[in-house]
Subunit: 236 residues, 2 copies
Amino acid sequence: MLAPVAGKNRQTVYATLRRKVLTMELPPGASLSENELAAALGVSRTPVRESLILLAEEGLVQVFPKVGSFVSRVDPVRVADAQFLREAVELTALDDLPVVLDPDLLAELGDNLRRQDQPGIDLEDFFALDEEFHLGLLKLSGHGAAWATVSNAKGHLDRARRLGLHDATPPAVNAGQHRAIFDAVRAGDITEARSAMRTHLRAVFDDVERIRESNPELFASNDGSTPVRRNVVVWD
Amino acid sequence: MLAPVAGKNRQTVYATLRRKVLTMELPPGASLSENELAAALGVSRTPVRESLILLAEEGLVQVFPKVGSFVSRVDPVRVADAQFLREAVELTALDDLPVVLDPDLLAELGDNLRRQDQPGIDLEDFFALDEEFHLGLLKLSGHGAAWATVSNAKGHLDRARRLGLHDATPPAVNAGQHRAIFDAVRAGDITEARSAMRTHLRAVFDDVERIRESNPELFASNDGSTPVRRNVVVWD
DNA sequence: CGACAGACTCTTGTATACAAGTAACCGCAC
DNA sequence: GTGCGGTTACTTGTATACAAGAGTCTGTCG
């Protein structure tokens, strides 16, 4: 059951639905009836429908005319695409690092890393710090604006990571990789920074592959056929 | 005046409006009243509105509640962002080129280059070939899917290029740069390919800067202030 | 002549009504 | 039991009605 939201505008509905999809509260395959969502959120179909159109544009939702709307399964092709895009952007950004690094951003990143190292850290908190860390690195090279594109493209990747908590690399290991990148960046060793970043991103990608093997039902088939339509309605 | 479209569905309306914005038929600052567009296209407000929402998400349109919707001015920040993204993706893709290149794709690229070399080629045709060429290079390295993201992000860049035809690098020069990239790729010289690609993309970026100097009214101010709202209605 | 107030028009945002089609379900015939 | 046909409920797509605010224009008053 979805709780009604405060504001009844489209932005709120969109943000709510997007969050629920990304956090797997609405898992892949879940049915997203415009009428049901509108009733549950206490608004009319219009803002719900417009939100679904945007989510469909991001690939997080699939709309089948006259049939229904469903949360997308994780598409391996899109995951690989996001992985490549992310590597390309984050590695190239390292090449553009200025000689003198912004001390404020450096301090922020250092603080971020310290928080990542907290033992028993909540996974949602860790993901948030992870996002912030990578965004911070991009800002350091003056390409913070590119994060929006990367973030948008890697929606599928994130969903898989959030789900397969068991099979994923533990936060402590990720935090260690983050620190390796950060140390190399601070030392001005671009080559080492690139290497560490590549190792880190590849590890994330491998996580997704492991998750896929243990939770195949959340992934789309990769045989190039038409996407699955009728799905189990997992929600409620 | 906009001619009515064949199909009355949203996809058609969206494609029509997007094309008119990208080709500058609807120039930056043009007013986009949902009612007017609906009447002109022979549909209701609904598909028009949904199309405008998508275009706004791409940054091609700005919507001011209770005031109006307008074609966005070219935003230098977004242009630089798209430039960085494009460089990152296309250069990184070159690193991933396989040892043995797909002969079909090579033939396609060669044919494309021949068509680019036609003297007195129409500029719209050249832009189409340009797109196809860069997409082909990405396909060659197995990352064709990334083009969608690049293409989406570089909307602002394309608009500027299409407009400032006078100040832009002539097609023949661009075609020459394309051929230099292609030759290096075919020869397996990744370093040279990267160099040629960088030169080419930087030239495109410089074009935009020249266009900006001669057509400042089409660009948003880069002082970080709020975007211009009331604009000259260029259309009709 | 200038400034201010109010009406009016136009805008987007939201809610609702209608249209068209799909798929599931139920009952009947065999 | 099994297969088939019709009905029914539900889906998205589109059109329209209503709401609320912003901006302009005009008339009036000082």
